[in-house]
Amino acid sequence: MSQYKIIFTGPVGAGKTTAINSISDVPPIKTDAAASDMTKSRKAATTVAMDYGIMNLVGGEKIHLYGTPGQERFDFMWDILVNGGIGLILLLDNTRADPFQDMKFFLEAFDKFITQTSVAIGVTQMDVSTTPTIDDYHLQLKELGITPPVFAVDARVKNDVSVLVQSLLFSLDPGLEEEA
């Protein structure tokens, strides 16, 4: 059976782990436990820091939900991670110093993957910092020549994450049928 995955990315603290947990059917994988097969000489150096969840579909299919390791510096893993991915969820933290710079960074970093699939952007922490607004994000994206979905998202709220992922899927194919 094919392995399908949706990739969650964004800067540290944007809510990737929480978002995955919101829609995953299994508890998030504990990173400490996942490190058991790694070098054990130093515990601090053996933990694999990757978020992972699963959505179980009817018929036994599984959608794997992967969060990129939070720090921008570990992009060497990204190419491996996105291989076979359905699309990209980009989460941005509105309280960061320059969320637009974050956005451009991740859009550029995943440019090839986005071109092949699609992207939906969730902006978190908008209750804490109301600016930039969602309209501001759209203006920035217009300059980049793309019009992806951009939603205010509370990663703790399942419905917010669900709507964001749905928008990604409808971006891929507006012809998808909805359940009556």
Binding site: G13, T18, P149, V150, P174
Partner: protein, 395 residues
Amino acid sequence: MDNIKRSLKVALHGMDERSVRTMAMYLKGPCQGVAVVVDAPSAEIDIFDGDSITSKKLLTEYLAKSSVKPVIVLSLQNVYLDNVVSVKKPVKAEDMMGALAEVKARLELAARQEIKLSPVVSEPLINKEIVVKPTLKTYVINQDEQQTTKHQTAMQMNDAALNAYIGNVPGVDVNDPAQFAMAGYNPKDYFQGYMQSAINACQEKKEIMQLHSGWRPLILFPENHEIWLDADDKQLRAFASLKLDNPSGNKMSLSPINAPLPELINTPEKLHNMDAFIWKLACWTSKGRYPDSINIEQPVYLKNWPNFTRLLITPHAMRIAALLVREPRTLGDVARILNIKPQYVFVFISAACAVGLAGQARRAADVLVEPADIKPSQKQGLLGRIISKLRGSYA
């Protein structure tokens, strides 16, 4: 063993626990163990994350001290500060190892010459106003995070729920192409039109204002982009559908207010985001009709995706948005391509027009060139099953 002996001792600052662990792995693996992570007092070098607000503050405070330790800053931008080596993100192993080698050389030179590295002149890194969070936020899944937010999340309805929620217009079948001409409405004839005018006026004047409508008290807050209304959804829905005739000139009016009403302070649950309010109001006013400013024979554009997590999501709204954001189309074309009832397109376009996201395409090319049909995704079945799962059609 030699490699371990030569490893530089580094302390990491402004990173959460997971990042520290990952960084430690990175130094040990891709960076070939040229450095190891230790506690701050034992470190020869301090490495800062230069991008989060909290870590920037930490760095600024650190550099203001008379520190003799060299500093490496990892940042999306180049950082130009004395005694600071900048490594641009995304960090590549060779860049990191180069920076560590440079710092190591400095340390060795300093040791040989017994010179003290000059204290760094304090220079604020942050141009923008600092809003300091208490700590770097580490996302750990626990019950504390299952909180509610100020704004309501989207309400997503299916076909069956729409008619019950939105209602319909007696005597007109809005889904019959032969009756499309009668399926338009003028928002100005309804409360929706007054509200849109009031919002425009209020935002132009940038003043808190009260709308005197002869109905319920309503206050507009342009700065917060919020509306306070002393009515529930059921009452608003009923009022939205009333055609307001004002031949006598008994019109609604706006007036500035200086102090919030006492009842407002005690009832924050009656505050609505302006866009969410107008969007909902337009849905209830439309009842499946389209605004008569739209020529249904001509294409309609959608500027960008609506902020659906904070709006009422009518049936097929996301599909319509996904289609229209690609290129302008006529409303009939949208209904045909998506194989849905025109009323769903009409109600969506009413709401999108009301918040200024949609309008009639004016470019000649949009009229001259007929948009192509969409290609179905090869994974359509799978994507549909994910949608069903997300909407809770089955567990």
